[in-house]
Structures are given as C-alpha cells and as structure tokens.
C-alpha cells in the first residue's frame, strides 16, 4: 500500500502548483485596468508642474487656459484647500518625528521639481495638456536642499521653517558597551555604503478616476492601488464624507510593489476636482510624471563597522544611516519605516548581541521617498553581508564558513535580535547547506581559480537574510495610522452549490485570488473550479489591511482558512439536520457530504443549498441554515512572522569595460507553509530581478539644483530579459505555529538579498586587483573607477 501524502486527500490544494484562473483574462487582452476604464461624461486632468526644486509661487495666471477648447476647470492649491483637509505623514511610535502639513496642490511654495501646482481639467487629456501649457506661473526660485549632509548643516536653508530644521527623525539604538567591544576586538572592518534612489517603474503608471455624485453624496474612486480600504478612510476623512459614501474599487492593477499604497497629491486632487465638477475625472500619470511623482526608494548612506574576535566570531556592529526622504514624510505610512527597518534589521541573521545604531531621516528638495518592495531590507542586508565577507577576508575564511560560524543555530529559537525583533523559528543553517549543494559551490570556486589564470574574472557572492512578514498592529496601528493589520472574508454558498468568497486582501498579479481559492477549496471540501474569489472593492468586501508587507498569504490566507472552516461547520449542521445524523460524523469531499468513517457520499452540497434556499419548509423546525459566513482574523502571538533564506550570485566582470554578465542566481527561501509553489517561485524570481535592477542599473540621478536628470524609460535603466539570468530556487519549510495555515510572506524575499549577493560577488570578482566597491547601482563607470581605470 502506497503512503498517502497530504496532497492525496480529496480537495487538497495547499501545496500544489495551481495556475492562476484569473490570468486567462489578462492573456486574452481582457484585463480591466483603471487606465482602460471610461465612464460617461468623464473628464481628464493634466497638471502644470514646478520646474524648480524649491521656489515660492508668486502668481498664477490661467486666464488663457480657461478659454481654451474643451477646458472645464482650472484649479489651484487654494481652490482644493477649501475642500480637502491637510495631511501629515507622521506616526506616534516614531518619537519626535515631524513632517509639514500637505495639501493636494501647494499654495505658496513648491518643494520638489515636478511637483504638481495647477490642475487643468478638459474633455480629453490632450486638450488638458494643451491648456496646461498656457498656464503661466511666476516662481521665485529658492536655494535647493539636495545633499543629505548639506541639508543638516547649521546654515542650511530649512525647507519647512516651522519645523526648525531639515531633520525629520533621529533614532538611536544602543545595547551598551559597544565602544569597548570594538576597542578590544581582534578584527574591525568598516565601510561607507551608498544606496542610490530608485523607483518602482510599474508597467501601468498610477491611475485614478474619481466619480462624485452630488445627488447621493457618493464618491466612487477607481484607483490603481493595493490598499483600497486605506484610501476609503483617507478620502472620507480629508474630504469630510461619510465613510459609507466612499467606495474605492481597485480592479486589475498593473504592478504596484508598494508604490501604489501611498497618498499622492495628484490623486487626492482628482477627488476634489470631481467634487467641484460633479463629473468623473481621470488622471493617468505619463511615464515622465511617474518618475517625478511616484515615491522613490532607498537613498541611504550608511557608515558601518563590525568587530570580530581572532577566530572570526562577530562581536558587534556599529551603524550610522542617513537617508533622504524628500520634502516631507509620505502619508499615511511615513517615510521613517524604511530607515527604521534598515537600522533594526542590521545583523539580524547572526548571534552577536552588541549593537549601536544612529538613524537620521532628512528632508531635501526631491520627490518623496517611502516604502517600496523589501522596505529597508536590501540596505541592511547589503551592509551586514559585505561586512561579514570582510571579516571572512580578515580571518582567511570561506564565505560559507564565516556564516556557519556566526548564524543563529537552527535549534536556538525562539530568540530575540539585539534590536528587539522576535524570531519564532528560522532555518539559516539548513538554507545555507542547501544553497551550497544546489550551486555546486566547490566546483564553482575551482572553476573561478582556473579562469582567473586566463584573465576571466568571475565572482561568487552570497547573502543571508531575514524578512519581516505578516505584520500585526505593531507596524502601523500602534502609531495611530488607520491601517488595518486584520483581514476579513465573506464566504457564501450559492443556490447551486458554488462558492463565492470576497476577501480584503488584494490581487496585484501575485496570485492572491488563486491561493485564497485553494485554501477555501481545501478547507471547505469543494473543487477549486467551483470557487470564485472577489477582491479590491470596499463596498463588496470586508474591511482589511489588503496587500502590503507580505501579509496576503499569511494573514489573508488564515482569514480564508478560518472562514471556510466556520462555513463548513454551518453546512454540516444543516446536513446533519437533513440526514438525521451528527455533524461530527460528516465531512465534505468534492462538494458532497460524506460519512467521515466510510467516505460514502450522502448528499450533494448543491442539494443542501437547494433545500436551504428554496425548501426551508422541509427542514426540521428551528433550523436556520447559515450558508454565508463573515469572519475576521487579526494576527496574534509574534508581532511579525520572520522568514529567512540565503541567495547566491555568480557573475563575470569585464575588467576592461566594467560591464558585467550576471551568470546565475540561486535562492533558498523559507516562507513557512508553501501554498502554491509555482506562484511562490515566481514571486522570488520577480523580486530577485528588482534587486538586481537596484544592484546594477537603476538610479534616479539628480543634479545639484535638484533636477532629476534621467526621468524617462530611455534614460533610467531597468532590467530587461537579455541581461537577466536564470534563477534556481530551493525551499526549506518552517511553518509559523501562530496560525493554522502556517504560511509566512514571500513577496519581498527576492529583493531583500539580491543586491547584497551581487555586491559580494562583484567584490569577489575584483579581489585579485585589491579593489572594492560599496555603492549600488554598480554601474560600469563606478566599477572602472573602483578598479582605478578612470
């Protein structure tokens, strides 16, 4: 008799590679993105933007523009301020953080180049752009605060004088005695790292249609976002509308990666414009607008050092991070979360206990910097992993051996990091061993040595990481932000026995609807093709956190699981009443009520539904069939479910040109219970490639006056197919015991460590020349400079 695995049970979907049912629509060109939507009487807005990074608005003359063909409205900051209450991007748990109030459009000054100043609404986008060109704004240019050091100089111009300085937040962590540890350490390594600004470059730019119906006082917003509930709350509060009269619909979303969960000025303005006009107003950022108004990511300078004993046991880290966030902190999640995660994630995979860090979050005249995929992780990972490699060099150890020596043992959990993060159970050593075998490490090293004799310079770099997933209210709620850490689901059985699940986690192409369908199918006991999952509409789904910080599978999945079990109990209660049996003796398999003991089919689910909905008169007296359930789940237990893993990068460096061929990436990842291996692996691959983009290509380059100099897809380089390697993925599964499902997040793991592995590989390739690099992106010019060629 063969051994049955969990996948051999009826309706076993968890753990299976199930293709996404909703992808067929997208493949047929039948996606419905906000950019595709046209509403009756819809108007279009174009914005007049500031050409200066910092300037006073002296006057605005829109007389000509208002007379141009098709123009319905020209609105300024003052017009919108009459409707919209200002917002401030701070959270209480970041003590002392400050940020100025923001309005949809500015009234008296602009604070970054590209900031929208005047809105022109017309019958078509082209007519709106024609009229926008006829708006004349007189600016009085002010000195631009661009550099993070200049911004903190005592005589620096202060962007928001009411705040007193250009410092948004200053944080310190100190476990004590770090100075003494460094003084007594056998080895100390240190480095100054630079992480350029990059940006999400989603294929679909930001897009929004606000449709205000004055007759009902109803605002409907079709919004390309991953967090519709958050925006329902924001639009209601800031425009003084009852929450029940604000509906946010997020249909198909053309990529988000964290970028589309922030409040953008143009988007907030669109709501006000629709209220002023009583008509739908659409805004779609063009690509150049995306570059100057989407959040940018990273922008850190980190000075860090690491101490180790003579054997290479890491003793301490000392870190100073300065990060530039633009002229204010983003709303409602703030721009401190990135730096906060940088300085709290440093060294997180390792056993050392002594840690000191200083974080300064700095205002500057650039577009806002805020959360983007793998918030803070790549910075913390790169700094830590490079320093670990430098300790390996100092102590003449292999990069695997130094990590084996210092990583938290797999049997040491639960434990806490020096910065206070609680780890339930991680698997660093199992992942490390698996990676080494997967990549055939010893062979690669032998090949590397041989090729070096022929003038071919290959590099091998590895990077271990942890990733924050499944965040509880400690992430945002405790700071006063109205961002939910719980999710809700409504599951109902239709009269023909199909299943409908509406849930608050959202679909961005990562496969949320697919895995929710898998979970419901398995735990209810029906075929997955009988389940329809609905997401992304605040009117038809329960309130929830939606998708951010790798919470969809872990929290949304657990919500669906518990809801499905609740519904199953209801179904079995009705079935028991009909069959005159006990619910405990019944189960559901493939849409049939069966005997638990014999698996014999008793009655079909569709028959239960038919009786309950149409012949309730035949049910025993007092039976009220509850074939719909609503259920909420909020994470309890650990504040976050940490995942872990390790990545390796293999590359070839042309030392004459500085050009790099990325040969291969390997990832071993532990995201707990894997619900759908196909989707998990593609999340990792996509994440890795975004990390490689940051490592080699992507940077928002600013000039001294605060002008973005490469804001187009011809000038800003993104990873393309021809430059990207194949990526081999392995898994270790350590389920979280905080939930029945056991799943943690995986969306950001690829991005978290790819640039660190790449940087280590590059330094490994450059080792024969005694040169190093500590800046990303590692452009050919920077490599040649590091090599001393230019």
């Amino acid at each position: 008799m063969s051994v049955l695995t969990p996948l051999d049970r009826p309706n076993s979907y968890i753990g299976r590679s199930v293709p996404r049912p909703n992808a067929k629509r997208l493949l047929a060109g039948r996606g419905r993105y906000v950019t595709d939507i046209t509403l009756p009487r819809m108007l279009h807005v174009a914005y007049v933007r500031s050409p200066y990074a910092h300037a006073r608005i002296v006057s605005i003359d829109a007389t000509t523009a208002r007379e141009m063909p098709g123009v319905r409205l020209v609105a300024t900051g003052e017009d919108l301020a009459k409707l919209c209450a200002p917002w401030i991007g701070t959270m209480d748990h970041f003590k002392g953080m400050k940020s100025p109030p923001q309005l949809p459009l500015p009234i008296d000054k602009v604070v970054w180049s590209g900031q929208a100043v005047v809105a022109v609404v017309a019958d078509t986008r082209a007519l709106a752009e024609d009229a926008a060109e006829a708006v004349y704004i007189e600016f009085d240019e002010l000195p631009a605060v661009v550099d993070i050091d200049a911004a903190r100089a005592p005589d620096a111009p202060v962007i928001s004088p009411e705040l007193g300085s250009n410092l948004c937040f200053h944080g310190k962590i100190d476990t004590g005695g770090v100075e003494d540890v460094f003084a007594g350490a056998a080895h100390v390594v240190e480095e100054e790292f630079h992480f350029g600004r990059h940006t999400a470059v989603t294929m679909e730019p930001r897009a929004i249609i606000a449709d205000y119906d004055a007759s009902e006082g109803q605002l409907t917003v079709h919004h390309a976002t991953q967090t519709p509930y958050q925006f329902q709350d924001i639009y209601a509060r800031h425009y003084g509308l009852p929450e029940s009269r604000v509906r946010v619909i997020a249909p198909d979303i053309g990529g988000s990666f964290g970028m589309k969960l922030h409040m953008y000025h143009e988007d907030m303005a669109v709501v006000g414009l629709s209220m002023m006009l009583g008509r739908p107003v659409k805004y779609v950022a063009d690509r150049i607008e995306s570059f100057v108004s989407d959040i940018h990511a990273r922008d850190h300078r980190v000075r860090a050092r690491m101490a180790a004993d003579a054997e290479g046991n890491i003793l301490a880290m000392d870190v100073e991070d300065v990060t530039g966030i633009g002229a204010f902190s983003a709303y409602p999640r703030t721009s401190v979360v990135e730096g906060n995660q940088v300085y709290r994630l440093m060294g997180a995979p390792y056993t050392f206990r002594n840690y000191r860090a200083d974080l300064q979050v700095v205002f500057q005249n650039k577009v806002q910097m805020s959360q983007y995929r793998a918030v803070g992780h790549p910075v913390a990972c790169t700094v830590t992993e490079r320093l670990v490699d430098m300790i390996a060099d100092k102590t003449a150890q292999d990069v695997f051996d130094i990590r084996s020596r210092n990583l938290i043992p797999d049997d040491a959990y639960p434990c806490t990091s020096p910065t206070g993060y609680q780890f339930e159970a991680l698997s660093h050593h199992a992942c490390l061993a698996k990676l080494k075998a997967m990549m055939d490490y010893d062979r690669l090293r032998a090949e590397q040595a041989e090729l070096r004799t022929k003038g071919i310079h290959r590099g091998i770099g590895i990077a271990t990481f942890v990733e924050i997933t499944n965040p509880g209210p400690a992430f945002y709620g405790v700071g006063g932000a109205r961002i939910s850490s719980q999710d809700g689901a409504i599951i109902k059985i239709t009269p023909s026995g199909d299943v409908h699940c509406s849930i608050s986690v959202t679909e961005l192409g990562q496969g949320t609807e697919t895995i929710i369908g898998q979970i419901v199918a398995e735990h209810l006991g029906v075929d997955s093709n009988r389940i329809k999952v609905m997401t992304g509409d605040t009117d038809t789904t329960p309130h929830g956190g939606a998708t951010y910080a790798c919470r969809g599978a872990g929290i949304g999945g657990e919500t669906a699981l518990q809801a499905a079990k609740k519904l199953k109990a209801n179904v079995l209660a009705v079935a028991a009443a009909i069959l005159q049996d006990e619910p405990e003796k019944l189960d559901i398999h493939s849409g049939w009520i069966v005997d638990v003991a014999t698996a014999q089919q008793r009655i079909e689910l569709s028959e239960i539904a038919r009786i309950a909905y149409f012949r309730s008169d035949t049910l025993p007296p007092g039976t009220q069939a509850q074939l719909s359930v609503a259920h909420h789940y909020a994470p309890q237990g650990y504040p976050f479910a940490f995942t872990n893993g390790v990545q390796a990068c293999h590359l070839e460096l042309d030392v004459e040109t500085g050009l790099v061929k990325i040969l291969k990436l390997w990832v071993v990842e532990d995201c707990g219970r894997v619900i759908n291996p196909l989707l998990v692996d593609e999340q990792i691959r996509g994440g890795v490639v975004q990390g490689l983009g940051a490592a080699f290509f992507e940077e928002c380059v600013y000039g001294d006056s605060g002008q973005l100099t490469n804001g187009s897809l011809a000038d800003y380089l993104v990873p393309m197919a021809v430059e990207m390697p194949d990526i081999e993925i392995g898994h270790v599964e350590t389920p979280t015991l905080d939930t029945q499902l056991g799943a943690k997040g995986v969306g950001e793991a690829g991005t978290a460590a790819a640039s660190a592995a790449a940087l280590n590989a590059m330094n490994d390739a450059m080792k024969p020349f005694g040169r190093t690099v500590a800046q990303v992106p590692m452009t050919p010019a920077r490599i040649l400079k590091a090599l001393g060629h230019i």
Partner: protein
C-alpha cells in the same frame, strides 16, 4: 472640427473608418476610439513594448505610430490574435508556466513571442531573451516567459515533425 482627418484601416479583419485628430497615435486610436484596450501604453516612447501590435505583418510600436500613418494598413491586436486562436498555444503555455503577473506587459510579450515563433526552427534561450529585449516586465523576472516561449517552440517543432513523417528521425 475642421482639422479632423479620415482614416480607414483593417483592424482584426474588420474595416474601420473614423474621423480623428491627426495627432492621435495608433495606440490611442485602438484603445480609445476602437476600445481595444488589450493594447497598453507604458512609456509612450517605444521602449517598454506594451503597445506592440502587428501592422501589415510587422510588429510595431503603436505608441510611435500615428493613426493616420496606419491608414490603409491591416492591424492586428491581442484581441484579434486571441479570436483567431493563432496564439492559443502561447497563451496556454504562459498560463501554465505563470509567465505573467500583473499582465500589463503581456499583450506586448505575446506579440513578440508570436513573431519569434512564426519563424522556423527552435530558438535558443539566448535567442528568446534577445527577442524580448524590447519588452519590459517588472513582475516576473522574465525566466517564466522564456520558459513558456521555449516550450511552445519545442512543441510546435515536434508537432510539425510529427505531421511530416518524412522528417522524423532526420
């Protein structure tokens, strides 16, 4: 308005005729006038490949083509290729391999794949990556797309050989 011009072209096998402003791009004409929203615009400067369509048998950027330039031409979009079922195997391979996430780049990817796979022989992975060098995808990391196209190439080659017995074993 007096500056409208008349354009007539064949789109997905049907002749269409409209009076349009001469500055309208083919992409906007397809998306807005004809409501063929499967064609997307991602950069409007011919870099990202989301707007690719077939014009008289060649794959072109509809964002860099004025609608008036396509007057008299035969255009095919993802909707037309889907309806004719000529890319059904590519779509199925993309689906099974999860070679798309958000799907915004996908119609352009399908155009490139269709053009590549219309040539004879089985392209190497390098050939496929090279062919995709004008198609930007932010979600997948490309490997799944390469895998899907490679699978269709092999299947079509095997199918062609199976239906041509004289070549079997050659």
């Amino acid at each position: 308005m007096s500056d409208l011009v008349n354009v007539t072209m064949t789109v997905n096998g049907t002749e269409v005729s409209h009076s349009i402003a001469p500055r309208i791009t083919l992409a906007d004409f397809l998306r807005q006038t004809l409501e063929l929203t499967g064609t997307h615009t991602g950069c409007e400067m011919g870099v990202c490949g989301a707007c690719l369509v077939i014009l008289d048998g060649r794959v072109v950027h509809s964002c860099l083509t004025f609608a008036v330039q396509a007057s008299g031409a035969a255009i095919e979009t993802v909707e037309g290729l889907s309806d004719r079922a000529v890319i059904a195997d590519i779509q199925e391979a993309f689906h099974q391999r999860n070679a798309l996430q958000c799907g915004f780049c996908t119609p352009g990817m399908l155009m490139t794949a269709h053009a590549l796979l219309s040539q004879s022989g089985v392209p190497s992975r390098e050939d496929i990556r090279d062919a995709l060098s004008g198609n930007y995808c932010r979600c997948t990391g490309y490997e799944a797309i390469v895998d899907a196209i490679e699978k269709v190439a092999r299947d079509r080659y095997a199918g062609a050989n199976a239906s041509a017995p004289e070549e079997v074993g050659a």
